[in-house]
């Protein structure tokens, strides 16, 4: 068996996530999101399994996508890298924020305690963006004006968008339907999701502490101390901006140092948020 790469696993997990997303979508009602999520788990035959598959493969997709980016970044470094590849890198990298938004919107769509709070915070953060804030909110979220009616199609389009950008770039370069990766990802998913359910936090009218999705915890912690524009928009955008610059800057050491310091800082505040009890 050939060794399976991060890139192949990225495609495999995204494919399983999209397929399981369609299965879950048949039972999802955007007007009663939390009831839908509970019904899928409790009433639908094998519903908990399919929701678990959708939830966990989406997590796996984003994690292996980030690993895939760092695994291949050396190819676009320096003057020897082809110009076309450098240009593609800066464009295809948009898959990362799109993938994270797809994952994030999935939390909001189940509309449990975590989802409600995360969605409300995200909408307020969008509105803090100078000039374009209201437009971005109207396009991507608009919870206060339109409930989940806007977010639901955006969630689906974000997943499909990742697939389209990914296949567009890779189709002529590598075999994206890599058999071993699909078999490995499918077996791991079936074994894991048969046992582990997707989480669901029952909303409470008098909650004392709500923690956001794991990748949002650092931002949630930073929002306690800093201005929302800095903590919620500028700080999270730093690694993406730096990664986009890698092909175009000669001294990549400085860029990697920035990413390393950022990752250490973000991990630290995430740990603080995890340990927080009030």
């Amino acid at each position: 068996m050939k060794s399976v790469t991060y890139g192949q696993l990225t495609g495999a997990f995204l494919f399983i996530s999209i397929v399981s997303g369609f299965v879950v979508a048949y039972q999802y009602e955007v007007a009663t999101p939390f009831v839908s999520a509970v019904s899928i788990d409790a009433i639908l035959p094998f519903g908990f399994f399919w929701r678990s598959v959708h939830f966990w493969t989406s997590q796996a997709f984003v994690i292996v996508l980030v690993a895939h980016v760092f695994d291949l970044i050396h190819r676009v470094e320096g003057a020897k890298a082809p110009l076309k590849m450098k240009r593609h890198w800066s464009f295809v990298l948009f898959c990362v924020p799109v993938a994270i938004y797809a994952l994030f919107s999935g939390y909001v769509l189940r509309y449990d305690a975590t989802g409600q709070a995360a969605g409300t915070i995200a909408e307020h953060l969008f509105l803090k963006i100078p000039l374009l804030g209201h437009l971005i909110d109207k396009l991507l979220m608009n919870l206060s004006g339109d409930g989940l009616n806007r977010l639901y199609p955006v969630h689906i389009l974000a997943g499909i968008g990742c697939w389209l950008i990914g296949t567009w770039y890779h189709l002529k370069r590598v075999n994206i339907l890599y058999y071993e990766a699909f078999v490995a990802a499918t077996i791991a998913t079936i074994l894991f999701c048969s046992v582990i359910k997707a989480p669901l936090d029952v909303p409470s009218i008098n909650a004392h502490l709500i923690k956001g999705p794991w990748f949002f915890l650092g931002i949630q912690e930073l929002l306690r101390y800093f201005d929302p524009l800095v903590a919620g928009i500028i700080f999270p955008a730093i690694p993406l901006a730096v990664l986009m610059l890698v092909p175009w800057i000669r001294n990549t050491f400085v860029l990697y140092a920035v990413i390393l310091v950022w990752a250490f800082a973000y991990s630290s505040v995430t740990v603080i948020a995890i340990l927080r009890s009030g």
């Binding site: 409300t120 915070i121 307020h124 949630q220 929302p228």
Partner: protein
């Protein structure tokens, strides 16, 4: 306590205090033991009439206009949209 506001009847009349945190919009909870509002997202605190105490919110909770119905039949709370 309602999803949008908390209605408190004081000696000077009814108060309808918005449950939307002035920081980033999370729904604040009322902590009975400490007679205060607490935001579960970033732990901003407000006293029992919605005045800011601590945390990142910095502003008081919004108060909605509230009127009493005749013969003590209840209250009408006006939520601006």
């Amino acid at each position: 306590m309602e999803p949008e506001f908390v209605l408190i009847v004081t000696a000077t009349g009814p108060l309808a205090i918005s449950r939307t945190c002035t920081h980033l919009g999370c729904k604040v909870s009322f902590i009975k033991e400490e007679s205060m509002f607490l935001c579960p997202c970033h732990q901003s605190r407000f006293d029992k009439v919605g005045k800011y105490i601590s945390g990142p919110a910095k502003k008081d909770l919004v108060r909605f206009k509230v009127t009493s119905l005749e013969n003590n039949e209840g209250y009408v709370v006006y939520i601006p949209r």
